[in-house]
Point group: C2
Chain length 214, copies 2
DNA sequence: CGGCTATTTATGCAATTGTATAATTTCAGC
DNA sequence: GCTGAAATTATACAATTGCATAAATAGCCG
């Protein structure tokens, strides 16, 4: 009885295939559907191979979480930077591009939400997941803070460290929230509705403190 | 060999016990830890009983999801209404109370986030979960819309239906997002930081269209 | 207090799970 | 072409899963 034939995959690609297969499984069938056998099937290998590349299934899920967050932040940043560079944008426009890319496809996407929610549900269960969350959260927020600092500098506005951090946290929260809403109820938002709301809210948060009146 | 003794539970309480036990399991160990045996253990009964009260485990999870969302919206609304009533608040203040209660404990809570994320991860897997999401989302948004309509009426401002819906969607998104952020990174927000950001952003969205400048 | 029904426990089962281990195949270097 | 290490498959296993069924208990109505 001959075994099925196979090939040695080049450096790193098998590992990446397994991560991608894991993401497919989680997105389509939730964590409970992401079994070693299903994952292996999707990746076109057999289940045992998973433990050749990862100590266990948990570590594969950790890698999948990292991958997801890196993709999200990476996409938002790359698209915004590119756009800003082409149009020789002011720092304020650059920030708005970032808001826009964060609130448009492919960052806003139902599948990504399913993945994200699955991972978040493990944050209080698995300490390593909590660590990954913390890291990826800070990576995104630092990006926001850099953009805000540039705006303040460009507009000759004093930027005390605390004020900067406060703004970054607030804007990060607004982007996250609108992102969530866009993924959850994508169909009710037109092309740029979400972006318009986001920019309006971000500008409100960036205003100096005094004018809190409606 | 005598069996363990037991009591007949009064109308509905056993069912509720099972739902609560399910929520405990999901919050502490994620969906994968919410097995019929674990749930039964928590509820102080044996596993078979679950299928006396529910057709299957899936339906128990559905009930747990409904319960979670009803509690969240219910708490936010009840606390805000109560507060507004005591202080004879204006509609605008009432809306701000609603933002405040939505962005404070017990609505903002790490455990609730774990539950919510677990359920959301099933929305694209299980059509019934999608339906529950839709219903609970609309229930919350309608509440927001009612509050906004009162603000517009009170301030003698025209409130075309489309404008009202647009504002409700936007404000709902902002509240959801800040709620998310508060649950995820609760420790970095002071008592009222989140509320302040929320009210600022909500007011910005409520402003008439013209002034979009920073 | 005796019986009847709703409630609850107990047990078993086939399917699935992650992991461990051994056997096989591929392929780069000689 | 050989050879040996690296990559992959195959099989087995104990544990766990949701569910079905049968037996037992509780407690209300008469």
């Amino acid at each position: 009885m001959p075994r099925r034939s196979f090939q040695h995959a080049p450096e790193g690609v098998r590992r990446q295939d397994l991560i991608n297969a894991t993401l497919d499984c989680i997105a389509e069938q939730s964590l409970q559907g992401a079994t070693v056998r299903q994952i292996a099937l999707r990746a076109g290998v057999t289940a045992g191979l998973i433990r050749y590349y990862f100590p266990g299934k948990d570590e594969l899920v950790h890698a999948a979480y990292r991958e997801t967050m890196n993709r999200m932040t990476g996409q938002a940043k790359a698209l915004a930077d590119d756009h800003a560079h082409r149009e020789k944008a002011t720092p304020r426009q650059h920030l708005e591009f970032f808001v826009k890319t964060s609130l448009s496809p492919p960052v806003v996407d139902a599948r990504t939400l399913s993945l994200w929610a699955s991972f978040v549900s493990l944050i209080h269960v698995d300490p390593e997941m909590a660590e990954i969350h913390k890291e990826s959260y800070l990576a995104f927020r630092n990006e926001v803070e850099r953009l805000i600092a540039a705006v303040f500098a460009d507009e000759g506005r004093p930027a005390p460290k605390a004020e900067l951090a406060r703004s970054a946290i607030a804007i990060n929260a607004i982007i996250d929230g609108l992102w969530l809403e866009g993924c959850l109820a994508g169909d009710i938002f037109g092309e740029n509705d979400l972006v318009a709301i986001g920019i309006k809210a971000v500008n409100a948060v960036l205003k100096p403190r005094e004018d809190n009146q409606p």
